[in-house]
């Protein structure tokens, strides 16, 4: 008789084998199928020939058809039934296109007026899959329509024109058109437009994955798509497949509502949390930052290692994107955008409410905040929420920071509040009454800025956070610029951040909103290009009025600003130039009027009460200054500079020399959604923080001049 333990051992082995033999193939098939499902989602499920299992699963899991209704049946006949909206003022072309598209078995809606098309799209957001638009139209420029569609509905847009000159085509590309057709359009060209729908949906899914909070991802890991095998989830833990599964799940199931019903409580990466995260990462060094250590450093109850891990993943993507942006001079295309957007997914959860909450956590008394404002800006007290264009708000925000900074110097602000409410400049859903909160937060924010690197770090974190939220690359661009804008002494070291931001935005998609990095130096951000006066008055109020800002305006402004800045800045990708041109025409009046006084806050002392620098000017200066000073800790200003910089005023301020902070004015093109703004702000903050880190931390140099 064998000893008992041998018996037990054998039993265990047998059980394990049994388990493995029985379930391993199932798991394998499951993953395989999931993978395939991803690709099959939009394809005819029956024809992929993966196998009956796959077919079944894909058929079941193909809940995401490219029809918004999500019916499975469409996938069989895809791309038939693709809902196309054609916009062209030429009736001949319109008719021909309609007929061609009908022949491709698409569902065609035609319109000869861009405004009408836009209203149709707005009324029925999910009613179309793709838009084809002419470039030259009398009532609205095709590129403008392209921007609108991209920002509001995020549909793929194909531009077409009889004009085949390279600069027009480039314009289409930089504005985010997924294709450009030369008239006369042949039916063969139209037959393949469905690829853009698929591509876009794929990117959207990825973005959505990142958008949702990390908990969702974690939850996804725990769960599986309804049609998947049950045991996969339990077996996935620690399984080599788990990461793959996670990805698959994320990709696949993001669109499915059942995933959102994760049992795990959602971890919302608030600004504070993100700042803590970034701080921890900076402390550890980006290379050595492992989730476990980060978790320990953060010391946040209830946060799991998985949460941190997924967040770290996004953060890394964001950083990579930042550096990637600098390398992609010409690579401004949609696909490029996909990545950064994904990285910012988590940010989306950040919204005005959170901001408000954050603001509420600010420990600075509203009064001191007001004082700060007054001191810094030399303006009247806060205004109640001003519905300024988003850009303005953003500018305010960035502007606020420097102002805060200064006021801190003047007053003794509590710096204990480490939570940089970077977001408080973020014009997500700022209500007038949030102003006070914002003020508090901004105060604390400013205080933080004043404090130096730590603050910067936070700003960076915030920026990063924001950037994460940023859905669109344009935001990222701005952030990048802001980040780049580092602390260099030059008055408008905004250029870098602006460059960053613009770069991001360009990279991502011209439409991304660009926010003023709410970094600590965000006082600079107060450049509302259009409303500098307002900005000057209250960085805070302006910030709160962010909600009122039309993203479009701000975005446009930023983009324009950024573009112009980028041009001057070192090695920015050529695309920026185009971008600038493109945007310039869009935002002709964004001549950043006096940027908040805090703009030139290179030194505390030197910061004049009111900077009469137009945001654009500031930004430009900032960029140029940034260029000179580089991101490395050359800034004599140190903290303040950084702060200013992180303020993320990407405003291409030209004339006046902003004291040193590179404000990142977020003059991003209007379509800056609130979420986008938040993310942009966060990103900016992050970028700023990154800048800070360069000075004080090792780890990342994401804010290296992102010159491309």
């Amino acid at each position: 008789m064998y000893p008992l333990r041998y018996v037990l051992l054998t039993f265990k082995i047998l059980l394990f084998l049994f388990w493995g033999i029985f379930f391993f193939p199932i798991f394998f098939t499951y993953f395989y199928v999931n993978l395939l499902k991803k690709f099959q989602k939009f394809e005819e499920s029956m024809n992929l020939g993966v196998g009956s299992v796959v077919k079944t699963m894909s058929g079941a899991s193909c809940s995401v058809s490219w029809k918004s209704g999500g019916s499975d049946k469409v996938s069989d006949q895809f791309p038939a039934g693709l809902r196309v909206l054609v916009v062209d003022d030429d009736p001949t072309c319109l008719m021909i296109l309609e007929k061609m598209l009908r022949n491709c078995h698409y569902e065609v809606t035609k319109s000869n007026r861009a405004e009408h098309a836009l209203s149709m799209l707005r009324e029925n957001r999910n009613g179309f899959d793709i838009v084809i638009s002419d470039v030259h139209m009398p009532d609205m420029d095709g590129f403008k329509l392209l921007e609108h569609v991209g920002l509001e509905m995020d549909l793929p847009v194909i531009m077409m024109s009889a004009d085949d000159s390279k600069d027009v085509v480039m314009k289409g590309v930089t504005h985010g058109a997924c294709d450009y057709l030369i008239k006369p359009v042949r039916i063969e060209a139209l037959k393949n437009i469905w690829q853009h729908v698929i591509r876009k949906k794929k990117h959207e899914l990825k973005d959505k994955d990142f958008d949702q909070s990390t908990s969702v991802e974690d939850g996804d890991q725990q769960q599986k798509p309804p049609e998947d095998v049950d045991y996969s989830s339990s077996a996935n833990e620690g399984n080599w497949k788990s990461s793959k599964r996670r990805k698959e799940e994320e990709d696949e199931t993001e669109e499915r509502d059942d995933l959102s019903t994760s049992k795990k409580p959602r971890v919302v990466w608030s600004v504070e949390l993100h700042q803590q995260f970034v701080q921890a990462v900076n402390q550890l060094g980006i290379d050595k930052a492992v989730p476990k250590k980060i978790l320990e450093l953060m010391n946040v109850p209830g946060l799991t290692r998985e949460n941190v891990a997924s967040h770290l993943q996004k953060y890394r993507l964001y950083l990579r994107r930042l550096s990637g942006v600098s390398q992609h001079q010409n690579g401004l295309n949609n696909s490029f955008m996909g990545h950064p957007e994904a990285a910012y997914g988590t940010m989306t959860s950040f919204n005005g409410l959170e901001l408000q909450a954050l603001a509420a956590t600010g420990q600075l008394p509203a009064q001191s905040l007001a004082t700060l404002q007054a001191a810094a800006l030399g303006r009247s007290a806060t205004k109640s929420a001003i519905s300024m264009p988003l850009v303005d708000q953003r500018n305010l925000f960035s502007f606020e920071n420097p102002k805060l900074r200064f006021s801190e110097g003047q007053q003794q602000l509590n710096n204990s509040n480490k939570q940089i409410n970077l977001l408080h400049g973020i014009p997500t859903t700022m209500e007038p009454k949030q102003l006070a909160d914002l003020h508090q937060s901004s105060q604390s924010f400013v205080a933080m800025n004043m404090q130096g690197n730590a603050r910067m770090q936070q700003n960076n974190a915030l920026l990063m956070h924001m950037s994460q939220q940023q859905q669109q690359s344009s935001r990222a661009q701005m952030l990048n610029e802001t980040n780049n804008g580092q602390v260099s002494r030059p008055p408008l070291s905004m250029s870098q951040p602006a460059a960053v931001l613009s770069r991001n935005s360009i990279v991502d998609n011209v439409r991304g909103p660009i926010y003023n990095p709410v970094s600590q130096t965000s006082s600079m951000v107060d450049f509302s290009l259009n409303q500098t006066t307002e900005l000057q008055n209250n960085s805070f109020p302006l910030v709160s009025s962010n909600s009122g800002m039309s993203t479009l305006t701000s975005k446009r402004l930023l983009q324009e600003e950024v573009n112009s800045d980028i041009k001057g800045s070192r090695g920015f990708p050529p695309g920026y130039d185009i971008f600038e041109e493109l945007h310039q025409q869009k935002t002709p009046d964004w001549g950043l009027p006096n940027i908040g006084s805090n703009f030139g806050a290179s030194d505390h002392s030197s910061i004049p009460g009111t900077l009469d620098v137009s945001p654009s000017m500031l930004v430009q200066q900032g960029i140029s200054s940034m260029k000179k000073n580089g991101l490395n800790g050359n800034s004599p200003m140190g903290g303040p500079q950084l702060n200013l910089f992180s303020g993320g005023n990407l405003l291409p301020v030209k004339a006046e020399q902003l004291p040193d902070t590179s404000y990142q004015n977020t003059f991003f093109p209007e379509q800056f959604g609130q979420d986008d703004l938040m993310s942009a702000l966060l990103k900016q903050q992050e970028s700023v923080g990154q800048v800070e880190t360069e000075f004080g931390f090792d780890g990342y140099s994401p804010l290296d001049n992102l010159p491309v």
Binding site: D90, T92, C93, M95, I96, N103, H136, D163, P184, R186
Partner: protein, 151 residues
């Protein structure tokens, strides 16, 4: 006339239009688009083209008649004319648009007027030819024949 004869003339006429450059491959595309669900597709599109072009040519004439010619506007019109003519396959009209745009860039009213003249001529020519073609088609159909596919 006999159907077969009509059809032969039709085919020949169509071939000559292509040969002489009045029509190009785009026109063939339009013809291929025509099917049972849209039996008059080509005629409709071409009629639309005629209307649109005449309007554009009028606008061009007026614009160039101004004491201060707005060349941007002229250029926009020409651009549109280029687009629509290329979409229907009116090759010679489209080819006239290219030098016209250059003249606009040079802001030379004189040359622009000359270009306009030329475009008008080409347009009238192609309009004539297409109308003849359609009449032939109608005759064939009236005689009970089927319209032969060319190319």
């Amino acid at each position: 006339m006999e159907v077969g004869q009509l059809q032969r003339s039709f085919v020949e006429y169509m071939a000559s239009l292509f040969r002489e450059g009045f029509l190009d491959a785009q026109f063939s595309q339009l013809q291929q688009l025509q099917d049972d669900s849209n039996p008059d597709f080509v005629v409709e599109v071409v009629s639309l083209f005629f209307e649109d072009s005449e309007r554009l040519l009028n606008d061009l004439t007026m614009a160039l008649d101004q004491p201060n010619v707005d060349f941007k506007q002229v250029d926009a019109h020409v651009h549109q004319l280029k687009g629509s003519s290329s979409s229907v396959g009116a090759q010679r009209v489209k080819n006239c648009c290219v030098p016209f745009r250059n003249c606009c860039e040079e802001q030379n009213t004189e040359t622009c007027l000359r270009c306009l003249q030329q475009i008008k001529q080409e347009y009238l020519l192609v309009k004539n030819k297409l109308q003849t073609l359609f009449e032939l088609e109608q005759q064939i159909v009236a005689a009970g024949g089927a319209i032969p596919m060319v190319q």
